[in-house]
Amino acid sequence: MAAGSLRALRRPDGVSVIGAGESPYTRHPASGTTTDGVLADAVRRALADANIQASEVDGFGACSFTLGPDHAVDLAWRLGLRLRWLMQDTNGGASAGTMLQHAVRAVESGDASVVVLVAGDLMDQQVHLKMVAEYNRATAEQLVPLDMLGPNALFALLTQRQMAAEGLTRTDYGRLAVAQREWASLNPGAVYRQPLTLDDYLNAPMVAEPLGRYDCVPPVTGADAVVVAADERAAGMRRARVLGVSARYNTDDQTGDGLVTGLADCAPELWAAAGRGPADVDVVSVYDDYPAMALAQLKDLGLVAGGELPAFVAERLATRELAVNTSGGQLSAGQPGSAGGMHGLVEVVRQLRGQAGERQVAARLGLFSGYGMVLYRYGACATAGLLEAAG
């Protein structure tokens, strides 16, 4: 065995995200925009951010709803990547955690040394309608025939359950949306940056009560990517060391109320692995397809206790005392299809590497979560990761 291979198989001391990139989000993609084009743009930006050449990449993971008929290997070929580790992920909003969990183990085991993970989609209106109509078999057979296109009604019902269980009002959800818009005003990459008032939120057209326009993520075209490598490879570089990644899939067979995500099971092992607790976190990205799900995840991760959500929203989110979804989140930055799952990770990495511009917070410990893949009544995938500033 060559010395290089032996070295590659040595277990590294730590694995970090050493670069991140985002292909600019747009509500109305220019004619000629393609899925592989925005994915490639995000990959190039992440590699440049990490100061890594494409020739150094030997691991690649991709998630996209609109890449077909191509697969991850086709995308790798078009990017000119020669690989010894490859994965294609299908978990949408949970894809960042899914792929990062695998990538960290790949680097630790020596199966790969530099891994690029990318997620993104071309999401114009026609593509979006096709995606939500053919999301999975249960959607096509059991939901679309109800004249229900997309998950808004499902999350309206879930939000009603959360309001009853937690004593939340539309004003509480509005405060979250307004706070995220305030963060977005500091993020040149967010598609909605103009101020949003609580009155704007409350008076917006109803989509499916209690959800109004500002409760529903705006679909955008875009892509996000990160570069993962062993710490020894990144000596001297500012990086976001991965302290732990945890995932759960189909924790309740869709038989519950949907108010508890798989993160409730992820959280204890994540905190234990990292030797930290919720109070130690400086910056958080939770998957915000709807405000109710952002709150459910903050609760499941231990950042707020049950029964205390209204006070938490008023005292910690609305004031932006706790740095949650500092990019503006998907509610203001946009939901670029499956890149919605990667968006929060990219933002946490930027915060930990001191690259967040006007919205930069003092951040040593960052937490991100993903959620998604509605099977029938609510999402079934949940992933979370803890990262620490290093280097």
Partner: protein, 103 residues
């Protein structure tokens, strides 16, 4: 009027949409069973379309389209016929079952 859900003959679990194995006991002896009514838990409006969560006794939980005057807490008749019935109903599209289960 009724809808078909899956009934596990091993543990009695009731499932919708159709599963390949019983999530509760792992059994594969799943047969269709008729359910005639459920309780409306929550409802919301998508324009003129009323979508509801409907709970059968004791399970499963269904996503349905309501027709007629129905409020949360009401017991509602279930149907897999999308056509108008003239009285309040909850429409639930039929599940596709493997052919051998249809006998």
């Amino acid at each position: 009027m009724s809808v078909l859900v899956q009934n596990c003959r091993t543990c009695g679990g009731r499932w919708f949409p159709a599963r390949l194995m019983c999530p509760r006991c792992g059994g594969a002896d799943l047969v269709p069973v008729s359910v005639e009514r459920g309780v409306v838990e929550q409802l919301t409006h998508l324009g003129d379309v009323v979508i509801a969560s409907v709970a059968c006794d004791p399970e499963p939980l269904l996503v349905a389209r309501l027709h007629g005057a129905v409020e949360p807490g009401d017991v509602v008749e279930l149907t897999d016929d999308p056509g108008a019935s003239g009285r309040p109903v909850a429409f639930v599209p039929p599940i596709s079952l493997p052919r051998e289960e249809m006998s």
